[in-house]
Amino acid sequence: MRGPGAVPRRLGGWSELRRPADGRVLAGVSPVVAANLGVNALATRVAFVVLSFCGGLGIFLYLAGWLLVPAEGEAVPILRAAMADKRTVALTAAAASMLGALVLAGEALGLPGPLAALVPGVEALAMLVAVWRHAGREDRVSAQRFAALLSAGGTAAPTRRRLVVTAARLLAGLALVAIGISTLLAPKHLNHTDITVAMAAVGVIAGVSLVLAPWWFRLGRDLAAERRERARAQERAEMAAHLHDSVLQTLALIQRSASDPQQVQRLARAQERQLRTWLFDQGASRSPGAAGEALTLAQALEAVQQEVERDHGLRAEVVTVGDAVLDEGLRALVSAAREAVVNAAKWSGADMVSVYAEVEPGTVSVFVRDKGSGFDPAAVAGDRKGLSESVLGRTRRHGGTAAVRSAPGKGTEVALSMPYRRAS
């Protein structure tokens, strides 16, 4: 046997043919053919594309290659696996017959050309079903790309090919629409049966779909990708904010109390416990400020007060007007408020901080104020993430507003507010 990287290769017999895992555009059929015939893989690919316009012959041959030649690392070709599975056979037959029926119905109604071009579509569909159900992971991706290419929405295909396919698809779609509309409008068809009219209408719809489907598909896919990306970015920011709040804070505390081994041990143990809870108890509250059992805003702020007074030796006066059951936004608000209090403990030099929370219809506001040294908000170093990320950024990411009022010598007030819908 040859090494896995030996592509292209000289092959002794058909049974030894394998579609390579790398160097493939779709399913790796072209490299196999090219290696066997001793020609360039690109030439083979061009040949397949050209043949595709001869009644879909290229597509048929390509799919046949896909089904008959096993992928690298596989013992049997997809076709054999597919034939052994009754459900695949049934599914394939069903899909093929459905498409075939549509084509025949079109022929019977005297709609020429475009519908006849669906014959290779029937083959392609049947073969793709087989591939889909029995291919390995690599081939599944390829099948997806192949299907996308057939609908001209594929991004992997070379530009020129995509242009040609797109043009063909547009022509076919517009022709369908034109035929459908003319069938509907032509006076000589007025006495036709309802079925004719329905078929014409279906034709119009199919035509429009054919023209627009790739665009819909692409649009949906882009939206999904964007949403995923945004969710990932948000997750990363949350994670960074959490690590800043918990681990970095603890490390700073440990540095400060390096001379007291017991204190260091206590801090490290507490941090370890907390991090464990956060990492492995995903169901529980993720905010370090709110103790796991805090259910309402007042309880969570009470927990923040106790925690800050214990860890930072800062007196916190917490006043809550009204109360609200914590939701995601309010948890973020509490975490941000907690971080603002910790900031005051670390930087302001004040021995006391006031926390005021008020629940109003639709909004919850929290004010964190100290009468300490204050600072110039415009001159905060960029790597001091506490204020910009953990307080302001976190609140805004959850749809709230946040502002800092401070000046050197004038103390600091952080004002946070979060939209809130009372669950009643």
């Binding site: 007060q305 106790q306 007196r315 006066e317 009204g322 006031s354 005021y356 008020e358």
Partner: protein
């Protein structure tokens, strides 16, 4: 303090009477306040009976009274002394912050309430203000009042006096800033009004708090019983 130069008592030391069942706490307060030279502790009592017996004779400027004591606590002291000596002025001092007790002390007639964690300077300022007849609202008391008066009056309260049972917009603004930790001076600057005006608003709120007929006030305070800090 610049906003308070008009105080009639600013010359002589303030005469203060201490009521607290913790002897150690009384000693601490006595020491701290005496050290300022601005306060004279004219007497102290460890229970309700002792306070009720001594205060009318000593006629202090302010009675500093702990909210939590056996036999009815601070509110009982305030009620009984006011019955015989209506000119007395009381500042309530509390450690637990239970709304129920604080509101009760205010309703009994105390002119203000501060927490035991208050700094000596702040306590001195609060005593002066009460001696002058002003009201002293800590952030927490401001929060309590906002909370208690925020609840929309239900059908059962229509017969009540709207003058007494609602806060004006300005009073609300003042209370909010106090709850956020602003001193009266800072409230005045924030709202572009004089300190005297702030004091007027706060006194008006105190009066409403003491005279309001809202029976829900008590019920609200009961429901709002907070978990005392320290049992972490």
């Amino acid at each position: 303090m610049s906003g308070h130069g008009t105080s009639p008592t600013s010359g002589a030391p303030l005469k203060v009477f201490l009521v607290d069942d913790h002897q150690l706490f009384r000693a601490g307060v006595r020491h701290e306040l005496s050290a300022t030279g601005l306060v004279e502790i004219v007497g102290e009592a460890g229970d309700v009976a002792g306070a009720v017996a001594q205060v009318p004779q000593l006629a202090p400027d302010v009675v500093l009274v702990d909210v939590h004591m056996p036999d009815g606590g601070g509110p009982e002291v305030v009620r009984q002394v006011l019955a015989t000596c209506p000119a007395s002025r009381f500042l309530a001092l509390s450690v637990s912050d239970a709304a129920e007790d604080v509101i009760e002390a205010i309703r009994a007639g105390a002119r203000g309430y501060v927490t035991k964690t208050i700094s000596t300077e702040e306590l001195l300022e609060a005593l002066r203000m009460v001696a002058d007849g002003d009201a002293v609202f800590s952030p927490r008391l401001a929060g309590f009042v906002l909370d208690a008066f925020a609840a929309a009056p239900g059908p059962a309260t229509v017969h009540l006096d709207p003058e007494l049972d609602q806060l004006t917009g300005r009073e609300r603004e003042v209370l909010r800033l106090i709850a956020r930790g602003y001193a009266y001076k800072e409230v005045a600057r924030e709202l572009y009004i004089s300190v005297k005006t702030v004091e007027t608003h706060v006194s008006a709120v105190l009066r409403k708090l003491q005279l309001s007929n809202r029976h829900q006030l008590t019920r609200w305070a009961m429901e709002r019983r907070l978990v005392p800090p320290g049992n972490y």
